[in-house]
Amino acid sequence: MFDRSINPTPGKSFTFKIPDIQRLKLANGLDINFVQKEKLPIIYAEIVVFSGSRLDPVEKKGLSYLTSLLIDEGTGEYNSLQLNEEFQKLGTILSINSNHDTIILSILSLTEHFSRSLELLSKIILHPRFDERDFNREKKKVLDRILQLKDESSFIASSIFEKKVFDDTCYAFSEIGYEYTVPLITNDDIKNFYQKTITASNSKAIVIGNINEQEVVEVFNNYFNKWNTSSDNKKLFVRPKRNKTECYFIHKGDSNQTEIRIGHIANKRNSADYYATRIMNTILGGQFSSRINHILREVKGFTYGANSSFHYYKESGLFEVSTAVNIENTGEAITDILNELKNIREYISVKEIEFAKSYLIKQFPSRFETYIQIAKNFESLIIHSLPDDDFKNYTKNIECVDVEEVQSSAINNILPDELVIIAVGDKEKIYGQLKELFDSDPTELTILGTNLS
C-alpha cells in the first residue's frame, strides 16, 4: 500500500503553444485576426464594432442595445423570419451582443457552410432593413423587459452600483436603457447610430477555425468590400473622482436575501500593475478558495457564493465585490467584506501569492480550448489595445511579480475609504443593521438609483 495522506506530485509538464495569430487586411481597411485550427470542421467568426452604449445620448439611453436587436431583423430580400430560416438551414448560430464598448456580431458554423453564413452576416451588417414594424415590436419588447427587471434584485444592485461608481459618466447607465429614455428613441435614431458607428474602419474581425489564410481573405473580400469606411469615433469618458465611502440601500419588499455590491472605480486594463492586481484579486475574491468566499461561505454560511473582481471597460476599470446573503446577516456580511478589504492592504503571505501564481499560470492553456474562447482572448487584446505578445509573455509577466508589488497593488487598488456600498433588500430588516454598522443613517435610493426625497 501507499500513503494516501501525501498528495501525488505532477508528471513532466507539457509545453503549450499559444495559437499563432495572423493579421490580415482587406482592401477597405478591415483588419482580420486569424487563427487556423484543423481538428474539427468548425469556423467561428466575429466582427467587433467599437460602438456600444457608452455612445448612447443622455436622453436616449438604450440606443446601442436596441440597434443590436434590430440589425438582424431583415436584410435585402429577407425579412426577419426568413433571415432566421436561412441561418437555421445551415445549422449556423448567429449571435449579436451589445455592451458598453462594442457591438459584437458572430457566427459559429460548420466549415462547409461558412461561406454562405458569412455572406448572410455581411448582408446583416451592410444592408439592415430597419423596418418600422420591427422597430416598434422590439422597442416594446425592451420596455416590457425593463418592467420585468424591477423584480430582479441582482440586476437592481449591479446597475445602481455602476451608476453611483461612474457618477453619470458614459459607463454609469444600464445598456438596456430606462423606462424614460427608450420611449424617446426613434427608428431614425437607430439608422443614424448604425450609419455612424457600424463601419469598417470602426471594426475588427476575428476568425478561428478550419480554413486557410487565402480562403479567409477571399471570402471576406467577397462579402465585405463594400462596407462603409467612414469614421466618427470619439473619446467620451472623463474619469469621475472617487468620493468618501457611502452606503446606499434600495427597498425590495419580501426579500429573504440582500444583494450586496461594494467597490469603486479602478485603473484600466493596460495599467502597469495589471498582473500584480490579478494576483492580488485571486487571493482576495477571485476564485473559490479566496479570502472573501472563505469567510462568507465556508466559515459563516451566509451565502451561496461571494467574489471580487476587476472589470475592464475600454476607458476604465471597475472593482466590485458581489454577493447575496440571508437578510438577517446583512450587517455582519458587509463588516466581513470591509475587513477583508482592509486586511489585504496590510498583509499577504508568500504562500498565498505562490498559490495564486500557480493557479493563473497553469490554468492558462485551458483558456484556449474552444474556438470561441480563443476568439474572446484575442478580442480582449483588441479592445484594450494590448500588444500581440501579451499572451506570449503571460507566464513571464506573472512569474516576475514580487511580493512587494502584490502588496502595493492592494494598497493602490483597494480603497476602503472611497467605496460605494449598495444593499438591495427589505428595508424593515436591513435599515437597522446598516445604521448600526456605519453609525449614521444609510441613504435610501429608488430602484432607478435616485435619492428618495
Binding site: Q88, G91, E298, N326, Y359, I361, S366
Partner: protein, 424 residues
Amino acid sequence: MDNNLLKINYEKYLLANGLQVILYPDNSVPVTAVNIWYRVGSANENKGKTGFAHLFEHMMFQGSQNIPKEGHFRFIQEAGGSLNGSTSTDRTNYYETVPANYLELALWLESDRMGFMLPGLTQEKLDNQKEVVMNERRQRYENQPYGRAWETLFSNLYSNDHPYNWPTIGWMDDIAKFELNDVKTFFQTYYVPNNSSLVIGGNFDTGQVKELVDKYFSAILKGSNKIPAVSVSVQTLKENRKVVLEDNVQLPRIYFAWPTEKAFDKNDATLDILSDILSASKNSRLHKTLMFDKQIAQDAQAFQYSGKYDGSFIIASTAKPGVTLETLKHEIFHEIEKLISDGIPQDELTRAKNSIKSSFIYSLQKMDLIVDHINHYNCYLDEPDSFVFDLERYEKVTAGEVISSAVIYLKKPFIELNVIPKEK
C-alpha cells in the same frame, strides 16, 4: 458531413469492486478531464428528506480522511484545473479538468472521497453547508422572479409517491432538518464503486492511467448496503388541473405540463423536435404567432424534459402587459391544433434537424463536456460511444411522427400553472 466524426474510440472495463472505468484518449489537447457519475439523485430521496442528494454534493467538497475542508478546490486550482459537481433527479456528477500532468492529483482526490469520506465528516461542516444550501435556495429560487414555478409545477404534475415530485435542491423545511447520521447512511448506500462510473478523457497514456486507476480505486470496498430501487408510479392525469401561484413579478406567466415518457424512450427525440418546431427559433410556431405577429407574449418556450425514470412536456409563456393568460392559453392551443391538422412542411423539419446536428459537432470542442456526455451515454444506454446513435434518433424522425406524438401526449389532460403578480 459524415456522422462518423462523432464516433469515439474508448476502452471500458470493470474493477473487481464494481467501478466502471472508461478511457477516452485524445492527445491533441493539453488537458485531461476526469468525470465521475454516482447513480444517485433526488429521485432516490424520500418525502420529508428531500434535497439530500444535492446537500451531499456540497459535503463532498468538505474534505475526507486525507483531504482538508476546501482541499479539493485548493489542490485543483493550484494545479490550474477547474472542478465542480452537479445534482439532477437521476445522478450526481463530479468533475475536474487538469493540465495533463496533474491527472494523478485528480484521481487521488476523487478516490479519497469515494473511499474515505466518513472520517472527514463533522457536525460543524454539515451545519455550515446546510446554511450555504439554504442560501443557495433563497438566491436561485425564492428571491428570483418565477423562481418557485418549476417546483410548483412538478409537485403538482407528479403524485406524492413519484420520484420527480420534489425539487432537486429540496424543500426548505427538509434541508433545515438534515442530520449527520442520515448523511452517513446515504454515503454508505450510494457512494460506492459499484454504483458509479469513472470516465477519463484527454491527453494520457492508457497503460499508465490503468495503473493509476488501479492504485487509487481498486482498494475501495464494494458497498454492503442494498441499493433501494426507485419505484415509479405511472402518471395519468384524469382531468386538467389549474394551480395559481402569487409571486413578486410584473408580468403573469402561464405554464403547461403533460406527462410524457423517459429519456431515450420511443418518442423522446420526436418530442424534442416538436419542442424545437414550437419554440427553438424566431420563426418557430409559438414565437412567430405570440411574439412576432400578435405580440401578446414577451417570451415562449417549449421542451421535453426527460430523465431516467419519466418525462414531461412543458410549454411556458409570459404575457405582455394588458394581455390575459386566458388569451395566451387560447393561442397556444390554437397553434398545437394547427400543427396537428395542417402538418409540418419538410423544410421546417430539416431546419430543426440541421440545428441539432451542428450542435452535436460544436459540442466536440470541450473535453469536460465530451466526457460528461460519455458518462451520460454509459449510465443511460450502457454504451459510451452513443453520439452517432443519439444524433440518428433525431435524423430518423418524420413529420408524421411529430404530429402523432403531439396527438398522443398534448391532447391529454395537463397541469396548468399561473404565476401572477402579488397583490401589493
